[in-house]
Structures are given as C-alpha cells and as structure tokens.
C-alpha cells in the first residue's frame, strides 16, 4: 500500500518547484551559436563553386553566377527551396568561404508554399538580421572581405 503514497508525495513535492515553461512567443529560447536554423547568405563571399548544391542531399539549392572582368565569379541567383530542405548543415560544412551559414531562425511556418522558396535577397536579409542580433558572433564583414580581397589581388 506504500507504493502509490510515495508517488503521491513525488507529485506533491513538485507543486512548489520552479516551473520550466518557456513563454515562447514572448520569451525566445536561448539558442547556441551552432544552432541550425534557416540559412543566411553572404553574396560577397560566394565564389560560385557549386559545392553546396552538390552536397545537398535533397537538391534544394540552386545557384548561378557569372564571371566578371577580373575573372572572378559573382553570384547572381541563389535559391533554397525550403519545402525540401532538411537543415542538415552539409552545405555550410562544405562551403570554402563560409558564404552560406545558418541563422537562429527556426520559425518556418508560412501561409503559402511560395514563401518557402527563399531567394538570395531573403537570405541576405537573414544575414543582416543575424549580424544585428549577435554582433559578437559574426566577424565583421569588412575584415573578412579585406582579407579575401587582399588574397585575390595577390
């Protein structure tokens, strides 16, 4: 007969304890810097090597670029189809210049499927938002560009 009384004492003991509920829309969860949310994209860094599109297990990345007068590739379009993206992070892993990264946006609900076709503009804005939110996590764009630019000119 003792058994369930022990159980009753456990539940009663929980009553005054601190509650764990996170009041989600008002309070956002703390997300670590490795968190894999929707992508963000830095077009200036992209060298159109196509590796992200090739590694993607679901073929959700499409990109195209052109060569400018300095024989340097420039990205023209970069689309991610979020209907099929599984946020596996492989594209970020293979990117040689860290042009594609992941943000902390995890709210993916939209009203139309068309909104899930994320283009370069959307992804760049996502990057800007992220930089604004976590200035300490993102190396300043100028620094990165400066290094890269120096390398290219040499």
């Amino acid at each position: 007969m003792l058994g369930f009384l022990k159980g009753l004492s456990v539940t009663m003991g929980q009553l005054p304890k601190k509650k764990v509920t996170l009041q989600y829309p008002e309070v956002m969860p703390e997300l670590p810097d490795r968190f894999r949310g929707v992508h963000r994209f830095i077009p200036d860094l992209c060298i159109v090597c196509n590796q992200c599109a090739r590694i993607c297990p679901t073929d959700c990345i499409t990109l195209s670029g052109t060569r400018d007068e300095n024989r340097k590739m420039h990205i023209d379009t970069f689309d991610i189809n979020f209907e099929i993206c599984i946020l596996c992070d492989l594209c970020v892993e293979v990117c040689p210049t860290d042009a594609i990264l992941m943000s902390d946006t995890f709210e993916l609900a939209v009203e139309s499927r068309d909104h899930l076709k994320l283009d370069m503009q959307w992804l760049t804005e996502s990057e800007e938002e992220y930089e604004e939110k976590y200035p300490d996590r993102v190396p300043s764009l100028d620094a990165v560009l400066g290094e890269d630019g120096a390398e290219v000119t040499e």
């Binding site: 539940t11 929980q14 304890k17 509650k19």
Partner: protein, 331 residues
C-alpha cells in the same frame, strides 16, 4: 424576511414559489461558476505538479480560460454522425446532464440551507438521481454508432453500477450513526459530536475510492481512457453536447465533494469561520485530492476495476456496515 427563507416549513405561497425559483437559479449559477473554476483549478494544479504553469493566456492568470473554452464549445458546429441513432444521440447529453444538477437540490450548503431542499430522504435522492446519469452516458456511447464510444459506454455502465453498490454501503454507515437520511440532520449530528470521518474512517476510505470511480476520474477513468478508447463514450460529440458531458462530469465532482463534506467532514460546521466557507474549504479539499490523484496515478485495468469493486471494496464496506450497526446498537 427570515420567514421568507424558511419556506420549507410553511405552506406554499406565491412568494415561496418565487423564492424557490430564485433559489434554483442562484444554485445553478453558483454551481456553474464553481464548475468553471474547478476546471481552471484542475488545469492549474496539475500543471504545477508537472512543472508547468497551466493556462495563462485568457484574462489575468488565465482566469477566463474556461469561459473561453465554453464559449468555443457553444459556437461550434453541432455534428451528428450520419449513422448515429439521431434522437438518442441528441437526447443522451440531456439525460446525463439534468440529474447532475438535480442532485444539488439537497446539498446543505450552509446551516440555513438557503435555496436547497430540506429533504427527508436526501441521501437516497442523491444516489437515485446520480444513477440516472449512467443511462445518458451509456445511450450516448451506443447511439454514436462508434466502436470506441460503445466500449466506453459499456465500460462506464459496468463501472458505475459496480461502484454504486460500495458507495451506497459506505453511506449507510453514516446514516446508521446519525439515524437520519436527511443531509442537514447528518451535519447537525456531526456538529454535536464528531465528524464522521473519525468513527467511519473505513467507510470514508471506501467512499473515497468509490466516489472517484463514480466520477470516472483517474485512476478509474476507463470510460474515457484516452490512450485506449480515444475519448470513450463522447468521442463523436462536438460543440455544446460535448460541453454538456463535460459539465456533467464536473458538476458531479462538485456534488460528490459536497456529499463527502456533508457526510464525513461535518458539512458547514466548524469553528471561527462562517459555515459556507467551511463547506467550501472541505469541498475544495476533496476536489484537490481528485486533482492530486489524477497527477499521480496510472489507469487501472477494466477487469481489475471490476474485481476490485466486488472482491475488495464491497466486502470492506459490508464489514464496516456490520461493525457500525453492532457498535451503534450497543452504544
């Protein structure tokens, strides 16, 4: 004015009839309020016991949550399944619901039992009416023409009938001690001597278990065992008909709490505080106990439920009854 409130002992006059109707309406309103906040309190308390905060969105601290839920249920579409037995399907919630409110007529909320009847066989009246609800539940399950609903309804019938017996037996002990079936007299008898929970502790335990089973609450919530029967007998009900079933359940929780308070815990009697407050505290203690059980217990199995009633609870209740009879006779 006091004479007006003592309508039970005088001849029936028009003012008395008016008071009766007024009393019924007030009781109904109070009960609905209590039930609404019982649901709210249940969600809050169980939430706290589980490390959650419970409803907190509608109104301050979520206080209006239950009203929002009821309102939602009332404006929802009333769906009657095509293959259902239409008339019974529509009637069942009413059969279940009406007796639940009628039982409240005999509950002595305060010493003056304002608004409620001073009924000579109040205890019998309560048991008789609460048994009618089973029909509503069973018919609802049957008329839905759904297998899960049917199993739920049948389980419910079997369970309520089985537990009605030990419940009644445990109450007889109280009746023997007080020498009356009038609930008000039982309270008076207790206020003179001692709360019957002390001499009738065995009966009280039997009552507590049987009452939990009668209320279809955890660990005896088999008729609506959501992990087995999805929702049990009301699986096909929507909108306000579903609300009726829900209300029935919670009105019975309240009514059973009132009965427990009246029969075993001394009703409105108690020092210092006004009678109605004592009564409310006792009822809430009972209801809280139900919440607490629900937060802790798994569900009993249907065959164990039945054998527990007939093989354990009933013999204990009988022994208690015999013992009480002997003691009261000798004493």
């Amino acid at each position: 004015m006091p004479a007006l409130w003592l309508w039970q002992h005088g001849p029936v006059t028009w003012p008395h009839v008016l008071v009766m109707i007024l009393g019924a309406i007030v009781t109904l309103a109070v009960t609905l309020g209590v039930v609404t906040y019982t649901i709210y309190a249940e969600r809050k308390v169980i939430g706290w016991m589980q490390g959650r905060i419970g409803p907190n969105r509608v109104g301050p601290f979520g206080l209006l949550q239950s009203f929002a839920d009821i309102f939602k249920l009332l404006i929802k579409e009333d769906i009657v399944p095509e293959k259902a037995d239409r008339s019974l399907f529509l009637l069942a919630p009413i059969i279940a619901f009406v007796p639940s409110f009628m039982t409240l007529a005999v509950i002595p909320f305060t010493m003056r039992h304002i608004f409620t009847a001073d009924f000579g066989v109040g205890l019998l009246y309560y048991l008789a009416l609460s048994a009618i609800t089973i029909h509503g539940v069973m018919l609802g399950g049957w008329a839905s023409n759904n297998k899960y609903a049917l199993i739920g309804g049948m389980r419910s019938a079997a369970q309520m009938l089985s537990y009605e017996v030990p419940l009644g037996m445990s109450l007889v002990g109280v009746a023997l001690m007080s020498g009356s079936l009038n609930l008000n007299h039982i309270v008076l008898a207790q206020s003179r001597t001692v709360w019957y929970v002390v001499p009738q502790i065995v009966g009280f335990c039997v009552f507590l278990v049987a009452a939990t089973a009668e209320l279809n609450r955890t660990p005896f919530d088999l008729p609506e065992a959501e992990s087995e029967l999805v929702a049990g007998y009301h699986v096909e009900y929507t909108g306000f008909r579903f609300a009726f079933f829900m209300l029935t359940e919670y009105v019975y929780v309240f009514a059973m709490g009132c009965l427990a308070a009246t029969l075993f815990l001394g009703g409105w009697s108690g020092p210092f505080l006004p009678g109605w407050l004592w009564f409310a505290i006792k009822v809430f203690a009972f209801i809280f106990f139900q919440f607490w059980l629900r937060a802790t217990m798994p569900r009993i199995r249907v065959d164990q439920l039945m054998s527990f009633s007939w093989k354990v609870l009933l013999p204990i209740a009988m022994l208690n009854l015999v013992g009480t009879a002997i003691v009261t006779t000798l004493w």
